[in-house]
Symmetry: D2
Amino acid sequence: MTLMIRKDVIDADNAARIADLQTDYDHLGAQLARRGIDIAAIKAQVTAYGVAVPSWGVGTGGTRFARFPGTGEPRNIYDKIEDCAVIQQLTRATPTVSLHIPWDKVDDLRGLREKGNALGLGFDAMNSNTFSDAADQTHSYKFGSLSHADPATRQQAVDHNLECIEIGKVLGSNALTVWVGDGSNFPGQVNFTKSFERYLDAMKAVYKGLPDDWKIFSEHKMFEPAFYSTVVQDWGTNYLIAQELGPKAHCLVDLGHHAPNVNIEMIVARLIQFKKLGGFHFNDSKYGDDDLDTGSIDPYRLFLVFNELVDAETRKAEGFSPMHMLDQSHNVTDPIESLMNSATEVSRAYAQALLVDRKALAGYQDGNDALMATETLKSAFRTHVEPILAMARYEAGGAIAPVAAYRASGYRAKVSGERPATKGGSGGIV
Amino acid sequence: MTLMIRKDVIDADNAARIADLQTDYDHLGAQLARRGIDIAAIKAQVTAYGVAVPSWGVGTGGTRFARFPGTGEPRNIYDKIEDCAVIQQLTRATPTVSLHIPWDKVDDLRGLREKGNALGLGFDAMNSNTFSDAADQTHSYKFGSLSHADPATRQQAVDHNLECIEIGKVLGSNALTVWVGDGSNFPGQVNFTKSFERYLDAMKAVYKGLPDDWKIFSEHKMFEPAFYSTVVQDWGTNYLIAQELGPKAHCLVDLGHHAPNVNIEMIVARLIQFKKLGGFHFNDSKYGDDDLDTGSIDPYRLFLVFNELVDAETRKAEGFSPMHMLDQSHNVTDPIESLMNSATEVSRAYAQALLVDRKALAGYQDGNDALMATETLKSAFRTHVEPILAMARYEAGGAIAPVAAYRASGYRAKVSGERPATKGGSGGIV
Amino acid sequence: MTLMIRKDVIDADNAARIADLQTDYDHLGAQLARRGIDIAAIKAQVTAYGVAVPSWGVGTGGTRFARFPGTGEPRNIYDKIEDCAVIQQLTRATPTVSLHIPWDKVDDLRGLREKGNALGLGFDAMNSNTFSDAADQTHSYKFGSLSHADPATRQQAVDHNLECIEIGKVLGSNALTVWVGDGSNFPGQVNFTKSFERYLDAMKAVYKGLPDDWKIFSEHKMFEPAFYSTVVQDWGTNYLIAQELGPKAHCLVDLGHHAPNVNIEMIVARLIQFKKLGGFHFNDSKYGDDDLDTGSIDPYRLFLVFNELVDAETRKAEGFSPMHMLDQSHNVTDPIESLMNSATEVSRAYAQALLVDRKALAGYQDGNDALMATETLKSAFRTHVEPILAMARYEAGGAIAPVAAYRASGYRAKVSGERPATKGGSGGIV
Amino acid sequence: MTLMIRKDVIDADNAARIADLQTDYDHLGAQLARRGIDIAAIKAQVTAYGVAVPSWGVGTGGTRFARFPGTGEPRNIYDKIEDCAVIQQLTRATPTVSLHIPWDKVDDLRGLREKGNALGLGFDAMNSNTFSDAADQTHSYKFGSLSHADPATRQQAVDHNLECIEIGKVLGSNALTVWVGDGSNFPGQVNFTKSFERYLDAMKAVYKGLPDDWKIFSEHKMFEPAFYSTVVQDWGTNYLIAQELGPKAHCLVDLGHHAPNVNIEMIVARLIQFKKLGGFHFNDSKYGDDDLDTGSIDPYRLFLVFNELVDAETRKAEGFSPMHMLDQSHNVTDPIESLMNSATEVSRAYAQALLVDRKALAGYQDGNDALMATETLKSAFRTHVEPILAMARYEAGGAIAPVAAYRASGYRAKVSGERPATKGGSGGIV
């Protein structure tokens, strides 16, 4: 396997930390034992857990006002998967990459697959793009794509999704994520009903082209880029889509795509209950689709989402096998560092949720002991599980402290020397 | 028919206004004729339109902090329907009353029905109450009703709903509205999935008791009285309920029960498209479930909702026949005045929506002419339709200016002399 | 004066409409006379009213996901002011243009001023840009500008603002608008207090360079481009800035820059009361800083803002002379059409607010007659004032129906032939 | 000192826990030592910290829909302070009680003070009530109090506040908290400017009666009980009040009184910077003024608020000495348990904030290392500080596990036998 970071760099950083880690791990083990929990079992589950990294996430993001690129920005999908490999090498928690077409389209797909595999990476869900116009495109998506009033534009969007499936087949992916920006900026601009009918028709055409062992995910979002209405605006509409399409269709939940104050963990529970939870785009947000680092704003909410996932896992909920992916915009940090930290945050929430005493919780719930029920969750959340995460990384060959090891490696400086500077531009406002 | 307001009072007030009204009506008729619209046809549709008044709406409302009663507060359902009759007499737009059990429960149901009919009032949907404890109740709803962890409490709530149906049968109602406050105040307090399963089971038991020609409406609400999670929290869950229950089950939309910024007219469109729109609780809100007078905060939003309704009516959407009711809390106004004005606002939005040039609109939509599409709606909204509403009232025997006629009648002073003062209390915070 | 649209085109369109307009105007005049209002006086006030157009508004906007340009996009400030002149010629309501530096920077400022004047346009407030990096800039604004931790970067931002003042002096402007995107994406990224201290220091340096007869406007915004904290996040902070700087400093209110549900008209009233209302960036929004066409989402809110302005005007509030500007992003319409419609919407809200019976309103307010107080506002809002607006335009040489006349003129096709197509790009997300 | 809970009950519960606590405390001490932190110093600061309990908080709360009382509800202020004494005895973190007038008004104020002192309790800020009508009141607050249009009503409200000061003087309080519900439910109902002028005049009259060593706190709230506008709607208006009144006037921040998505910790920072932070009403919320248990919904937000407080404390910010109080509505829990847990949560956030490495943080901030800056906060937040809190309680004579000890004591059962059941009522909606 090709290693992007030299093993000795990681080893050196780990060597300075392992003694303290072992002490902390042992003490945590003793604490958990008092609560009847086997720390090794938790560590094993954490080790087995992984979250996908999106190929576009390793580039610096921006807003409609500006983009301020960092140095060593990846130039293409080959650079991108090298950056992704760094994340996986150090965290051991991101074994797959999720591609975006046409941004990541290359002629030699088999070569790309091989390069990925050589770096220890598999290929997660494919992402189509009908929210911007590619250079060579016949019909514009200015007024929509899968729901466009014009049949030829819809067909073009369908064809693009079918092409993504074909590309994914070669790469070893087995899922297609469809997010569209279709909607309107003015009351009356589109007819809600006709527009959704057209969307459903187009999606049915895509669904027809889906291999039997694939899944298709639709993703809801309240607003942006459309600012009055969005075709797939919430989980209610998303559920209707999955229901209309059939058993291979599921709903994708992006944590930043909801109305203010919405109880997202409850939406997750509903989708699980009705067998339509397809997966997640993890990130965090304070205002809208802010695409901030996962767990950076409200870590307890992230835990509450994982509490639902572990609950479903524990009771072996029928049809439950969601996909996990990070989806963030890194505007002011080194994207590799943000993605490593976010992968850790997701693992942390998972580990904390595994610690919930579900039997006690059920008892408190049945007895309407609200205070002890919520304390049962809080007590799991408060547990400082970092030693478990760090030990899992360490034992799998990763870094005890990924960001520190990464900085020690000099990777960013190295690629900055190889990859030319990109320009920022002033975003979408001209 | 018993008249609550003397005919000569109304006649006198109308007499002072009819000449100007006729002038304005004629000029509006000419303006509409230029746009190819027959004012008489619009007036006929407005005349045929009606919205139900809730029995509890004629009392002064309050908040958890305080209630400041007015004078002449109705003491019981007999007083209440007299107040409702005033509203209908003056506006000719509120032909039915919606009762709340147990608040409006009486021994002589046939007598109540006859009194209603004598006042020119029919009986709209029945409303059950499992969000507060009645004096003689065995099990408390403190921790839920239809979703309560305890089967006996759930059964009690089911029985109460079945009783509401029985009462409604006698009164001539043909629908049951079920709103529950069930939810939780703490993460972990309830298990979302089990709780919803219990709710569905209980509702199925109620559904079984529903006569063939009845409908049952479930009503979603984001929060309050539960402040962390609510069992029927949004239209997505509401749709699932209606789907699980069967063809007699539909979703009720209260305009104030959504998350901030949510596009409500789009939810209305979705429910129509999937044949599950049951009806409305009209009111207005700026922050939460404020229960303000309909159209008082955002009249254009009300119009956009009616635009969807008229669109569905026009294309004869399958299964489309929603119920319309006002549901407001009148804390600082005379409830009769607020309800009269709100009935007028609903009629106004309906009239404006009838004026939309739907053929032109469809053309602009198909051509992606967003500006002209939205102008088509705006132009209908801006039309000053008051002459149509007033003429419809006048010709049906109502008041050209309902509030003025009401004030001239001295009704409030009269009932204030008959009905003793009530106390305010300091609400739910002790 | 140079006319961008041939006079005969406008005349021809007007000729087909003037008879109906005169009839409607006369009837409205009679209606208003009944309410004791002189329509000619209202028309005179509407005629005297104007709103500035931002130079960047005539280009097609976009989002971080994509920009879909239209045809005939203006290439530079000369093209832009020609487009602005079209708007002014047809609406007679946009006599000034507001420039953005460095986007609109040219060598020959006097020539630019003369061209503007020849087109009948003056120059409104200057706008500085420290939210994106110009090509030749020494220090990046990635981590802030006026509040940046590095003094050299702050000085660069101060110098840029001072340069904007110098440019404005030549053009005949007398105000500087400062909007910065400074803030943070992570808790802890900046120290709120130090950061605001640095901002205040830098603004004081700009203030020192402000001519005596100029004003400086600071503009608050809740979020975007920063997604955790923003230095000038709300009117409270904005007020503190204006207070710290001195009498020439005032607060600018953009209607889309507030938290969900916020009562904006009340903020306007507070700033008037404390003599710090500097002006407006008009637009509309449903979710965030959507920059939609003014009055397109919630026209009643726009009216309520103007109700405060007319109230202050009527009582001659001390220090009250706010600047009015449109600030919108036109993503799916012809920007010229959107700006014309928006100018009309602003005039409409002004005209409606002039119709409020303020004496009656004060009486209802003092008597706690909430229903009649709100009806007094509603009744003004409902008045169909279009005939007043159209007659004001017509008599001033503009178009009765600006969009129709514009379409008839073929202006967009003409400039599309002259100005080359621009590319969209895929926005800030790489 | 009178003990409400028998010492041997606490001792017995503590005895079973002290060994594990000592182990955990020692291990945490070793971990913190590695980070250069002395655990004993942190413990000393936690021990010195206290938060006030509101007298009304020990009763079960409710909503406008219903109140479901628990058993053993306190009947009067004497019962209430006994419940408060339980909280202080077990947590050692709530040394003072905050009274509400007229609810807690008694004839023998000196006797009340002595009883409080005998229970080990002092008296925190006094709270006036002009949001509901007392039984014997001359003028109603239905349409406002300090901002009412009628001078006699305003005077009555002023007099009530002055009376609260007099009562407080006897009890040893030195602060008055003024929260009013004044506002409006309809656009136009009140004139924003006149209404605020009246409020300011009335508050100035109260301020005049304030002893030199007292403080007066005004409290802002976005909405409820008024649903269109509120006189003191946000911190901007609150700051203006404090500025107009003078140096003894400060702003109170209730965590649940803001618009959705608002960055509260930033408001706290601004008020500190401008020397106007008066104190807190701690609680948590998901939707509006939910008054949930502190830290139950978003514990990281609570930490971020305390991060600002410790930052100000550390740099000895001028004029910084905020008051801390819990203000919650306990609808589904035993109020004593909720208040004990909430006091612990506040102490926890304080302890975590004390752990922030402020020197490192400042370095990351100056160097724009956003990722490490936020990690510095996160790392403090993640530290499991419970052993510090528990040891501080234990050493001060409190309970290691307050809820467990409380349940073991049988206190609720005992008072349920002594205090008669109260009725729930169906809240403000009648």
